[in-house]
Amino acid sequence: MAQDDERVPAVPGPPDDWEAPRERWLSTVVRPAFGPRSMLLEVVARMLIPAILVFSVYLLVAGHNRPGGGFAGGLVASMAFVLRYVAGGRYELAAGIPARPPVILALGLLLSGGTAGAPLLFGEPILRTHTWHFELPVFGEVHLLSALFFEIGVYLIVVGLVLSVVAALGARMEAEEEETRAWGEGEVR
């Protein structure tokens, strides 16, 4: 039994994959999630991912007037990470993630929740939208809606969710299987 709760938590922390060594792209240790390694897939993925991420940001911003929005944007962005995992395996996934999923989720929730709650501080109802007008050199007059922060929060959360799920149901399971296999071999005396 733990003598000091701070020193020995009842259970260890979250998955430690996030601290895994950051593998190099196309390095030899990369193992893909499905089937044999496909160089073509990896290369295509490598090229597509930045484009997908840019498209996701476009969707995020465009949602104001066209189909899109935080959800769609977030889903598209997470497709990029899924693709990276499918092509490069779990180490590759770990290398490509900007932060631990719980942190992404927490930040997203803070951003959205904060945007929702901020008007309360000014005596306005919850979620009241505020618009700022700017004059920017290149873009001219810009309307910045506080709803955008809200949407960014949504975007982050969707990305965080998909990352968690891929990490848990994809990478984690894969790792476990390897462990089991290794353990099984070790047991044979």
């Binding site: 007037n65 189909p67 959800f71 969710l161 799920v165 399971m173």
Partner: protein, 125 residues
């Protein structure tokens, strides 16, 4: 108000019927599929409350004809996302069950079974 198109109403019925049927199976993977079907069914049911096929609710390109009621669309979107979140959880659960039991079936409750097998009350107060 317009009644919805009959084929779609029938589709709602089919989705619910098949969804329910998958839901009452013992394999958790089938249950997941059932939830997905039911999710589609309820989304379609919500969609049918918007008055029938119409133009997208985008201001500005309002061309000829009726524009769809956007509120059901918004609710469906929310529902889709919630269903997605819950489905991922259910999948993780199915995986866990499989880890424990080597299959993904929902077994009966042990204590219920034990009490069901009792012939006589065990004690009287």
């Amino acid at each position: 108000m317009n009644t919805p198109a009959l084929v779609l109403v029938i589709t709602v019925g089919v989705l619910y019927g098949t969804g329910f049927y998958l839901l009452v199976q013992r394999s958790l993977m089938r249950v997941v599929l059932g939830i997905l079907l039911l999710g589609h069914g309820s989304n379609l049911a919500l969609l049918l409350t918007d008055g029938g096929a119409a133009l997208p609710p985008l201001l500005g390109d309002a061309g000829e004809g009726r524009i769809a009621d956007p509120l059901p669309h918004a609710m469906i979107l929310t529902a889709i996302v919630i269903t997605f979140g819950v489905t991922t959880f259910l999948l993780a659960l199915a995986y866990r069950v499989w880890l424990g039991d080597e299959n993904d079936e929902v077994p009966d409750d042990i204590e219920d079974r034990r009490i069901g097998a009792l012939a006589e009350p065990e004690d009287s107060a």
